[in-house]
Point group: C2
Chain length 231, copies 2
């Protein structure tokens, strides 16, 4: 029995649609791995040596300038695929935000397997196209929205994305959730500074739009107001 049989993302990740023989073969070239919060899995500009499926936890994809400025260019949740197949180097670092469990493959092994299994490549294509859509809508946010619009959009996105993972499976967006980001990381997602993020959070709290029970917890009190602010 392969570990895929008990995998919680078996039917959502790109492995979905593979038959038992294929899963067995894929299982053979992959292995499970824990990544603890803060630990890097892939380095920017490094040879792209591995790719992975996220089983559990949240990871950030980042690019940095030489002088240390950082931009989070993507966030990977359970069932998401990370890494850069069919390429020499990966354009972003991948670092765990929470303790995470991933299913890793050497890039070469994965590339070979994928080329032999069109159904898998198709799933990967659909996923990549969807990620490109999401990334492009984030460009709108980075280029054209002001701080309060950015924060409102971010909170709504979080409430959608984190709803799926919680114990309540997809009963609409989460009203209350625990951010996988520090304030600095929120700033790195939105292209702001930590101070601006903090001020905007405080402002929303004072206006009664959200509640902040603890550093990482957010409760949305007035979703309509957030939607209006998000623009």
């Amino acid at each position: 029995m392969s570990s895929c049989d008990t995998c919680v993302v078996r039917n959502r990740a790109i492995c979905a649609g593979l038959d038992n023989r294929e899963i067995e073969a894929l299982n053979h070239i992959g292995r499970r791995r824990m990544v603890t919060a803060g630990e890097p899995l892939i380095w920017e500009d490094d040879d792209s040596l591995l790719v992975a499926n996220v089983i559990e936890g949240v990871l950030k994809l980042t690019t940095s300038t030489e002088d240390g400025r950082e931009q989070i260019v993507g966030v990977a949740y359970p069932s998401d695929f990370i890494g850069r197949p069919f390429g020499q180097t990966s354009s972003a670092s991948v670092v765990a935000l929470t303790d995470a469990r991933v299913c890793v493959f050497s890039r070469n092994d994965f590339d070979r397997f994928a080329r032999e299994h069109p159904e898998l490549e198709h799933k990967l294509l659909e996923r990549t196209l969807a990620e490109l859509d999401r990334t492009r809508s984030w460009m709108m946010l980075l280029g054209r929205k002001n701080a309060s619009e950015k924060i409102a959009t971010f909170l709504l996105e979080m409430s959608d994305r984190l709803a799926e993972t919680g114990c309540t499976p997809a009963f609409g967006p989460a009203k209350r959730f625990s951010l996988p980001f520090s304030r600095q990381q929120v700033a790195d997602v939105l292209g702001l500074t930590i101070e601006t993020v903090s001020r905007q959070f405080t402002k929303l709290k004072n206006e009664g739009v959200i509640e902040l029970p603890s550093r990482r917890e957010v409760e949305i009190l007035n979703r309509g107001a957030l939607v209006a602010l998000a623009g």
Copy 2:
């Protein structure tokens, strides 16, 4: 004889790698079309009805807010693929920047054909992964670079991208080129205002880094300075 036989992007677009029979079949479901400068080809949020290969010309991909702010989220050059296969709606509008020639397919026809031709899907996957890389590095620019870094990065990217299309085929980056963008469109690419773009251009001209022979023409006098400014 199919029109693909004389297609200038035949060996660079996703059609590369298909054999004669397959090209014939693909040619059967597609048709060539002109798009004049300023004319839209695909509307944001509309049902994704068509996809296309760019044969000649340059097109912009944009997203807009309700109140009219616009962000250019991608630029399509000859041999690039545009549109959203395997999805209901496209997340960006596509509008021609210059007169352009494209090879269009109905999305349904294309989806069906692609699923039957793994080699084509693979090409599309490679292209989409590369586009995602490029988009992510653009997020860095939008989120973390200041106006002069943005302009410098933009000019270098233009000089690379436009080198390939000119009569001089890929002798390194172009030293002098004609922008396919108005000042407003440059602003929409970089997340700036037209006034800021204009001031930065003037500044670079005064510093002797570039020359501006006409509105659309740019000549790079000091590439090293641009690289340094781009950060």
